[in-house]
Symmetry: D3
Subunit: 75 residues, 6 copies
């Protein structure tokens, strides 16, 4: 089975930069280009299933309903 | 009251590009640089509170626990 | 680009049974076998991108961190 | 106080199959029938409050807004 | 079937103050005492299933993983 | 940069009461007044970035889409 497309509007291709392994969940930092980073917390068993390690090509994805917006005052 | 810092590791400054207004929730597309877009669905009343319109400066933010990871086969 | 695998532990193959279209978000009911249903709310633009309609084959997926547990008293 | 009904459209009765205990969060695998499994990550203190152990009857529940949809190519 | 307890650590009893009905999702404002309000967006079909209207007694609940923290500068 | 306002409708000022530190994620209990508590699970690195400790002033915030509603039978 191959996933063709997923509805999450927010999908960023990147490279795993760093993994902080925990007992149940782990933190994965993904570089998505132009020095931008996305951090993901996933189950440690997923890390193993996907065989993720620094340098692995991944897509970081999240649903639009999860994104909050803030207005700000530029410094 | 001024928020100094928020724990969400994923915070991207950008500009509102487009708003699709709905009765209860609205879809906001934010340009975060280098042609990258983040889409957010927020309540329509928030759009009004924050006075968001195309061109508004915003931060799109989301928690690390919301980010899924996929491995892929480059085309 | 083809997604090979995604970290979400919870992935259910099914068939779209019903779509209730809204202005910004839509509700999609997916039959995953044995009369079990999963309901998903996604952006209406995703429905169009994925060309979803009743009968479409889909995978419903969600992260483990989103699942709550309740104990109960069988009737 | 007894909860009569909850709005989450997605509620699956099942049995705890396995618990992987962590320092702050734990992973609980729930069998919902027909060899289908749902994995949940909850706080370890919840595990203790609900006295969950393999064999416990539970309901796994999640909101529709958390469910993403993917289209796929059957193998 | 009666739910005895749910793992969500964050559960607030309150009274529905206002419902803004939408085509697919609706916004429900819940008063939890001491002039504190919690806003929930749920599917409109859930509103009907639970027969919610202003004055209804409800519990607003959410998982700990959904809560972000910010530090602030008191005014 | 200073955040002026954030769209999350649910924002509660409070004081950190307790932190249970884990390897990757930590649990923070926040007292929001009138003996009400909100529990948040955030990455342990966020705890350090925000220099959170018991007594710290924080805002607990979450999106409306994350809040479920239950009807109940008062005891």
């Amino acid at each position: 089975m191959t996933i063709k497309a997923i509805n999450a509007r927010n999908q960023f291709e990147g490279t795993v930069k760093h993994i902080k392994r925990g007992d149940v969940v782990s933190e994965v930092v993904v570089e998505i280009g132009n020095d931008k980073l996305i951090t993901s917390i996933v189950s440690t068993s997923s890390i193993d299933d996907l065989k993720l390690k620094p340098g692995s090509a991944v897509i970081a994805l999240f649903k639009s309903t999860e994104v909050a917006l803030a207005s700000f005052q530029p410094a």
